[in-house]
Amino acid sequence: DQQVKQNSPSLSVQEGRISILNCDYTNSMFDYFLWYKKYPAEGPTFLISISSIKDKNEDGRFTVFLNKSAKHLSLHIVPSQPGDSAVYFCAASWRDAGNMLTFGGGTRLMVKP
């Protein structure tokens, strides 16, 4: 059973608007969450992360929100740009897991000019 789920396989957004990608998890031990971005024919690259002691982390156009009670996190991209078109993976880990990550299934974001 998947412990990290991204229920939207794809999302289409107009350039300049906000993109919101969602992720749900079931394992209460997870205390660190990450988003990775993947372009075709490339490996995933780290985008942004958040610790469970926070509920928000911002880096430029990217903001991740964490709702621990709902076991839900979201990635906001504002404003969205065509270059943001990629597959986004949510991932989770916990303190004693070392560098072991559990990934969600991914959401393909398409930003239309």
Binding site: Q2, V4, Q6, P9, Y32, L34, A41, E42, G43, P44, T45, F46, S49, F89, S93, G98, N99, M100, L101, F103, G104, G105, G106
Partner: protein
């Protein structure tokens, strides 16, 4: 780009044949990983290594074996390939104590088992 090279980049093989994928790193990182990516499943850990000759199983290790005889090389072997092993395989590297964000992926190997 992190110095990770995966070979081959693409491979087509037949059911029942052995296949070996190679990951080579120039970063001298201690930890190396093999993931597979499948639609709807994201990336799932197959095997990982925390040092030369030290390896362990991941979430989906059945049908796979690994070897690490040198720091820079991590090999993934499918002893007898099956169609369910058609996937994109990613190697990743990291160093302990550098933070979980410091997980770097190679560009992947597309494997098709016919």
């Amino acid at each position: 780009d992190a110095g990770i090279t995966q070979s081959p980049r693409h491979k087509v093989t037949e059911t029942g044949t052995p296949v070996t994928l190679r990951c080579h790193q120039t970063e001298n990182h201690r930890y190396m990983y093999w993931y597979r990516q499948d639609p709807g499943h994201g990336l799932r850990l197959i095997h990982y290594s925390y040092g030369v000759k030290d390896t362990d199983k991941g979430e989906v290790s059945d049908g796979y074996s690994v070897s690490r005889s040198k720091t820079e090389d991590f090999l993934l072997t499918l002893e007898s390939a099956t169609s369910s092993q058609t996937s994109v395989y990613f190697c990743a590297i990291s160093d302990p104590g550098t933070g979980i964000e410091k997980l770097f992926f190679g560009s992947g190997t597309q494997l098709s088992v016919l």
